[in-house]
Subunit: 210 residues, 2 copies
DNA sequence: GACCCATCTGAAACTTGTTCTAGATTAGCG
DNA sequence: CGCTAATCTAGAACAAGTTTCAGATGGGTC
């Protein structure tokens, strides 16, 4: 863990900006990954297949994404950015911040239901990631936090309590997804869990209960 | 996924009761697993090494535990049973149910801090487990639920709201562990998250509508 | 255009989880 | 005891993630 001998492609803001061909390669790789993951989930994303499908040598694939988990976490980041865009255009409408957050997460959940295999690949990679991926996972986490904070629609800086609540919401979100993906919880149960945890967000209209 | 052609060793209450030698083998395997996991976490648990360390052929190891994840989930089950025993003997003392649950989870968390590599192996296996392990993961989940319900010390059957709260607490527990294990959250932060989510117990918050 | 260096390619090699096979051992039973 | 089926062993074989390396290609510089 000394100075990073990593490729210049590792971070979000690359030291060396990518050439056009490199950008295109990266796109092709992520697209191939999405395609394979949508078909069969985590196991169906095989590095050799990703390389072939994106017309890139295996070694090159590993230069762009140093492991399968990195690759899938990057895919999740990609998807989350899309989601964030979509949500910005059509934000949740409810009056209550807690309800807005729940609404937002349920919207994301429905997106996952449409591509359960893809969801499987991304979420499993995210929770399986070890320290070597923590920077990338952190980026995903910050994106998720941003989405939730947006949904809360708060004015000004979030309080420490609000940040705690948001972290717990994210915990619940990830773990509930896992239980759903592995067939141990129903869609209805995930919904209940999300709504329950969103109760941690203070309702401004209502004072704290006794 | 038709009729199970699995070994009679698969479930908790085996169809064929194990002979003494078989029981001893199982013990040796789990002990070897714990030992290797304690040394280097998930990656250090290598099936060939587990087999050798427990003086069992590789094929036999796979007969007892059909995959590495099964093996580690069984290890977690083992550890949780110990924890449950310990907690029964010295239950948390606080007046407030929420505080008792938080206290209990923090105790478990301190146990994990003593063996972070072992924790890594078990928790990563648990969240990485796919459908083929869902029965075993479910057993672990039920054990965890039992521990939390014990800590709540409730009289009579838990209400649906209480069960939701407990599920959300478990979600937070698992996911917070993950973030700690991958170095993205401090011990203090895990503590805060646990205490935050335990707030769902005492004051039955209204679920947000989506 | 010639040269240089980083990058990319193709293919083999290595690692570790998992499966398979042939033969030895064990447990249960008459 | 002797038989039979299940279990166990040793080891090869296979699958997929990862690494490595020799050579080809591309982009920038003189």
């Amino acid at each position: 863990m000394a100075t990073e001998p990593r490729s210049p492609l590792a971070s979000l803001a690359p030291a060396t900006p990518l050439t056009e061909r490199q950008e295109a390669r990266r796109r092709r790789i992520l697209q191939a990954t999405t395609q394979l993951a949508s078909r069969g989930g985590f196991d169906a994303v095989q590095m050799r297949e990703v390389a072939e499908l994106s017309s890139v040598a295996l070694g090159t694939l590993y230069r762009y994404f140093p492991s399968k988990v990195h690759l899938l976490v990057a895919t999740m980041q990609d998807q989350l950015e899309h989601l964030h865009e979509t949500l910005r255009k059509r934000p949740p409408t409810d009056q209550d911040p807690a309800a807005r957050v729940a609404q937002t997460l349920m919207r994301a959940f429905r997106a996952m239901q449409r591509e359960p295999h893809l969801a499987d690949a991304m979420v499993r990679a995210l929770t399986f990631a070890d320290r070597s991926v923590s920077a990338e996972v952190d980026t995903v986490s910050r994106l998720t936090t941003a989405i939730v904070l947006d949904a809360m629609g708060l004015t000004g800086r979030p309080s420490p309590e609000q940040l705690s609540a948001v972290r717990v919401i994210e915990h619940t979100w990830h773990s509930a997804l896992i239980t759903w993906l592995s067939g141990r919880a129903s869609i209805a149960q995930v919904k209940i869990d999300i709504e329950t945890v969103c109760g941690l967000i203070g309702t401004p209209a209502e004072p704290a209960r006794a």
